[in-house]
Symmetry: C2
Subunit: 338 residues, 2 copies
Amino acid sequence: MKLVLPILFLLFASTLHAAEAPPLQRAELGDLRLESGEMLRGASIAYRTAGTLNADRSNVILFPTWFTGTAEQLFTFDAVALVDTSRFFLIAVDALANGESTSPSNSQQQPGLEFPAVTIADMVNAQHRLLTDVLGVSHLHAVIGISMGGMQTFEWVTAYPDFMDKAVSIVGSPRLAPYDLLVWNTQLAALELAERCECQEEAALEVAGLLNQLAMQTPQFLAREFPREKVDALVQQGRAGGAAMNIHDRAAQLRAMLAHDVSRSFGGAIQRAAEVVRADLLVVTSVQDRAVSPAPALAFATLVGAELMELQNDCGHTALFCEPEETRTEIAGFLTRP
Amino acid sequence: MKLVLPILFLLFASTLHAAEAPPLQRAELGDLRLESGEMLRGASIAYRTAGTLNADRSNVILFPTWFTGTAEQLFTFDAVALVDTSRFFLIAVDALANGESTSPSNSQQQPGLEFPAVTIADMVNAQHRLLTDVLGVSHLHAVIGISMGGMQTFEWVTAYPDFMDKAVSIVGSPRLAPYDLLVWNTQLAALELAERCECQEEAALEVAGLLNQLAMQTPQFLAREFPREKVDALVQQGRAGGAAMNIHDRAAQLRAMLAHDVSRSFGGAIQRAAEVVRADLLVVTSVQDRAVSPAPALAFATLVGAELMELQNDCGHTALFCEPEETRTEIAGFLTRP
């Protein structure tokens, strides 16, 4: 299994085996009322499926996307290998604002800066509509997500606690830690600069790309993989990754992560949010993660009595890549256990 | 003793006792030939002194400045408390390009983008000129520096190995580690954006300010000192710190740090650079430093058989602040030992 996140695609392109993604499907949800009260016009959700839905529709696993990720990437980067599709029916779903589902970059009615702010809860509510109204799925075997997908997982188990049997958050968070807020506010500041500053839009995006690369890394990992003389190439990769971004989509997802807090519906009390969880929960964290700090996920796991897998390697937010077999075995066991 | 770095001035302003700095002195060095071969026109070095020079001029300690720092700050932040001025004659010297010595912001002949690139070696060569040609000092008891000051210390002991008895580098480096190169290239990219993009210069500087704040921190420190609801204030502080910067001075110092490598004069062989060191060397590092990685300093220390003090706290690049008494005691002992 090759399990990699986008940034590592750049770093380890040669080690990737590219998998083919199943075809894009699309559900039209019409106008969606957002958490803010604003309306998202003509909302459309993109998704891709694998495996076979069984007769009583009891084998569905939902896999929402990471920050800037698409359902297609979940397949091409083989993240879906975490799920045994000979047994489960996998629905990989594109988050709102990610460029495949309705987004600032593709909305006809609310393009660019006119796109209303969406939240992690809005992403989850749209997925709930997709499942119940379009696909006729009223219960999930599991939700599983990585990074921003893990944030959606925490939202799912607190907003729709009876909707799934199991849930897996991998380097996700019930709400960002102080350090994470500083990291992502910094990247947002670079993007907002690009949004306002047409003279140097690409250069501002390159800064955001470098920031993203930085957030994924640890000094130990870089020292091992990138001797000083190769760092220029890494810097160029970070710049190029940034230049390829859609500013508004990326900024919209960043704002969603920054506002994310599963305790918001519980008067800010994380304990009360934890009390509603019914799903069996597996929380996977990376001890040196500097993009999504493990502390809030670990604290939440303790409150709900969740299973824990704490990755101890020095790969930072991309820890999964460094222990793919161990992680896959643990998650496969968790998902199939009666 | 309150020993703090600029960023912590923002965080712990209330705990600071402001010390008075001795008056600014200035030495005119005329035109300086730089390492690049270019000429720096009308070079002027600013410095401040404390203590009394003894009759045989044998009690001089040179203290160059950190990134964006001034000799004045070494006093107002009380970093100079590391040196006993009842015994030593302290010369705190402003680095080239820092705003007090000749800099893009104050040069009449080569202002702003016309200012030639300077290196850490150029800073050290100018200080050597100041000492030998202006102050009549032909030997130092010690050189001591923090961060970029520590980089100048490594340059001093390899470029002028017989010029001092002792040297102390605190969170400095003989050359930046791969992670550091990524950190500082990212900040430089933000500054270069501001240099080119007049429409949003302040916003670009704010991004650089946030980046600097981020590089100083660890997740653990922030989680302890800044609950989520206070992070907005921290973000505003980072932005304000950036907005107060002079772009060109800051970019010039960043480029100097990025190019810094004491092995350059030794065909890239760090072992050969280490072999020329004559001074007793004390290397102070911070295990969780994400601005200047400890690894290159530790490796160099091993090569020269230097004394080591590895700060284990979770304060990152500002580790000194969290163990001021322990550090001061160690350094005072090292400086006074026969």
